[in-house]
């Protein structure tokens, strides 16, 4: 259940929103896209140094702010709203969360500090981004005298050259999947850019060839599902931010655009389409907030992350399709910004599991609980 924001939280939201509105607008986004630079390093620097955002949710003992779920939700929503293209999601959310879940105390202390400060950009390197049960099928870890070596190929959600540290999932000698820490500059690590549908979230292929790696944690098998749940909820929150931004900008467009001598927002069929979308948005928003609080408290519906991701995926695509349709031909042009959100919606739909996958997993969890009871 989402509670009203406190005064401090509202202030925090304003600061984050204003910063991104000023420093990560679509004009800048487009410049990065044209340059194929991936993201604006100056904005990222300020976001780290001035706003200290990467540390928002990282516990204080590991160098972060240790803010609660509400603040984390605020940041993710804003990131999605502005299609922020820097490595926040990749490093501060995905890689950091992986370390928090799998790392030893020492590793957390050592690695998270730099991620929280932004002085190191890390990225989660997975060989499969749509279902956790297929993780580690394309990356193999073997023991060496003083650690591990990795072979195989994985994908990271940042452009080539951005990340300095990879956290990769690999199947170890005992066939269990663990996370490994690899220096991006190490020998045996080759990174190449991938062309992505989502222009504001680049990806790269990482090829490991006998790359030296440290295992995260003490070799106990990874709680993949817990990690996946955290990633899904962060993504769902981000998606809601994008969907809401796109939805409200479409409504504003409809109040302005005239056809047949009246604003198109006065046509009942279009009004009702917007009403339907708002209902779906409110439901998905409640589901993602709920999932966030379930994860933070360790209580409540165990399937909440699946529900959040499934609903966010569907509503974002519905909004994205409607946003183009309601703009007509203009919405299909490159010059109009709508497609930037559409592309994000499309890639987020499958990332970390399709709505179908999540609904199936949700049913499995419900039945597991029923059988356990």
């Amino acid at each position: 259940m989402s509670l009203p924001l406190t005064e401090e939280q509202t202030h925090f939201q304003d600061v984050v929103t204003r910063f991104l509105a000023d420093n990560a607008d679509t004009a800048r986004l487009r410049r990065q896209i044209e340059l194929e630079a991936g993201y604006d390093r100056e904005t990222w620097r300020r976001l780290c140094c001035e706003l200290c955002l990467p540390g928002t949710h990282i516990p204080e003992e590991y160098g972060g702010h240790g803010f609660g779920p509400v603040e984390f939700g605020i940041v993710m929503h804003a990131m999605g709203r502005f299609l922020y293209s820097g490595p926040f999601m990749a490093s501060a959310v995905m890689a950091a969360q992986a370390i928090l879940i799998a790392g030893s105390e020492d590793q957390k202390r050592e690695l998270l500090q730099d991620i929280a400060s932004g002085s190191v950009v890390a990225a989660l390197a997975l060989d499969e981004w749509t279902r956790p049960d297929a993780l580690g099928t394309r990356v193999q870890a073997d023991r060496t005298d003083n650690g591990y070596r990795l072979n195989g190929s994985a994908t990271v959600l940042v452009d080539a050259g951005v990340a300095e540290l990879f956290i990769a999932a690999a199947r170890g000698p005992d066939n269990s999947v663990s996370l490994y820490c690899i220096d991006a500059g190490a020998s045996g690590v080759a990174v190449s850019s991938l062309e992505t549908i989502d222009l504001t979230r680049r990806a790269a292929r990482v090829q490991f060839t006998d790359a030296t790696a440290d295992i995260l944690g003490v070799g106990d098998s990874l709680d993949i599902e817990r990690l996946w749940d955290h990633l899904c909820v962060a993504l769902a929150l981000e998606m809601l931010g994008g969907a809401e931004e796109l939805f409200y900008s479409t409504v504003e467009y409809m109040k302005m655009r005239v056809q047949f001598g009246r604003v198109i927002g006065s046509f009942q069929a279009l009004k009702h389409r917007c009403a339907d979308l708002l209902v779906s948005l409110e439901l998905a928003r409640a589901a993602s907030q709920h999932a966030l609080h379930c994860l933070a408290s360790g209580e409540g519906d165990v399937y909440a992350p699946n529900m959040a991701k499934a609903m966010a995926s569907e509503v974002y695509m519905d909004v994205a399709r409607a946003a183009i349709q309601l703009r007509g031909g203009i919405g299909f042009t490159w010059e109009d910004d709508t497609h930037l959100w559409f592309r994000r919606a499309k890639s987020s739909e499958v990332l970390l599991g399709s709505p179908y996958w999540h609904r199936e997993r949700m049913m499995q969890r419900i039945e597991e609980l029923a059988h356990a009871a």
Binding site: C274, D276, A287, M362
Partner: protein
């Protein structure tokens, strides 16, 4: 804070003491309520001059709690009577208050609401029941519909048109109509699911004394909105509808349960109308449909909708308690979501049941409850404001999109309307 708690505690003690010396489950129900009124405990949230004590909601809740602990019964419960009490207290004349409030609280008078008409469903203000002043009395003619409990109502809250030469919202007046007179004919209205929870009311030259008009002529539309806002108000001590004191055998409880049953009877199919989501997983396990990956998707969609709708409602509640002003009216959103839940639930129940979905009656699935879901769910998106009206509300009031151009703003006499054959 401690002072407020002290105050509540002293109220609890006072009402406790009073109940100890007055509550007697062997009295007839109405007689007990007369005592309750005399003692000032029937409507503690009302002003002192009308049986009350001017208590705030927290204080009323404290009184109710003591009543419940002692299994003492309160004033007559809910239904259209709640609306009648509300409007008479807020807008009635002294004379109306004197005549109507007491029997409303004792339960001696039953009321019904005469707003909707066959010709004006979504467009309530387009009503065409006519009231004319003749020889100093209002003569009413017209037809009302969807009237719950009209067949045992003594009085009705009536909207009728008194001026046909002004725009539609301005020509409506509000009356308290005596249902026990020759000009009133009540017929049960059977629904497609077989229940007859509502009535049609045919009004032919029915008479209303001018002193039974509420407010002034033409105030009807405003008063109707006010009336509907009383649906959730809580200033009177009434038992919770779910508390039937089923184990108590004293005569007053028997009488009270009959009163409750009569009140609740029209609503017995409402859980089926809402889709009986609670039955979905048990039935899917029972029929084996739970193993079908395609139906699992449909079940999961339903659970998502249902769960998220509860979460939206809870968030709205929390926001409204905190006084925060989010612009989203959870009412219309929840209403639309619950239509969708009911539709999806009917769909899922159909396919979980397979061939059993063909059958109805006590020998069918879940003693016919599944069939009742299938045949009741269409009402969910109509009753209490259609989906279409909710979407107008959301798009116009929340999203700020322009209102539909109106063609009915002139004198009502000239506005096109339905011809209804009674």
């Amino acid at each position: 804070m401690p002072r407020e708690e002290d105050c509540l505690q002293s109220i609890r003690e006072e009402v406790g003491t009073w109940l100890d010396s007055n509550w007697d489950p062997n009295r007839p129900l109405v007689e007990w309520r007369e005592i309750l009124l005399a003692g000032g405990w029937a409507a503690p949230g009302w002003p002192e001059e009308y049986f009350g004590r001017g208590f705030n909601p927290a204080q009323v809740a404290a009184v109710e709690q003591v009543f419940r602990e002692k299994k003492a019964l309160g004033a007559a419960a809910g239904g259209p009577g709640t609306l009648a009490r509300g409007i008479v207290l807020a807008e009635g004349t002294e004379d109306q208050k004197t005549r109507y409030l007491r029997p409303l609280l004792t339960g001696q008078h039953k009321w019904c609401q005469l707003f909707s008409e066959p010709g004006s469903g979504s467009d309530l203000a387009g009503l065409s029941t006519k009231a004319e002043l003749r020889d100093g009395r209002w003569i009413v003619n017209g037809q009302k519909v969807w009237t719950t409990s009209a067949h045992h109502a003594d009085f009705g809250l009536l909207l009728a048109r008194t001026d046909w030469d002004v725009p539609k919202h301005q020509g409506i007046s509000y009356f308290l109509l005596n249902m026990r007179q020759p000009g009133i004919e009540v017929r049960p209205l059977k629904q497609m699911n077989g229940y007859a929870s509502f009535n049609e009311v045919f009004i032919t030259d029915a008479i209303v004394d001018p002193r039974d008009m509420v407010g002034a002529a033409g105030d009807g539309w405003r008063l109707a909105s006010t009336t509907l806002s009383f649906e959730r108000q809580k200033f009177v001590v009434t038992a919770q509808l779910e508390e039937r004191y089923a184990d108590e055998t004293a005569p007053i409880y028997e009488e009270y349960r009959r009163e409750l049953d009569e009140l609740l009877k029209p609503y017995s199919w409402y859980p089926q109308r809402a889709g009986r989501v609670d039955l979905v997983l048990p039935r899917a396990r029972q029929t084996g449909a739970i193993a079908d990956p395609v139906l699992r998707q449909e079940i999961a969609k339903l659970i998502c909708l249902d769960r998220a709708t509860d979460l939206v409602a809870a968030a709205a509640e929390a926001h409204s308690r905190s006084g925060a002003d989010r612009v989203v009216p959870a009412g219309s959103i929840g209403k639309l979501a619950r239509s969708e839940i009911s539709r999806q639930a009917a769909h899922v129940h159909t396919h979980i049941s397979g061939m059993d979905a063909l059958f109805d009656g006590p020998h069918a699935a879940e003693n016919g409850l599944v069939a009742e879901v299938l045949l009741s769910s269409p009402a969910m998106s109509i009753a209490g404001g259609t989906d279409e009206i909710q979407k107008n509300i959301i798009s116009e009031r929340v999203l700020g999109l322009p209102k539909e151009a109106r063609t009915d703003t002139g004198p009502f006499r000239d506005v096109p309307r339905n011809i209804v054959s009674g």
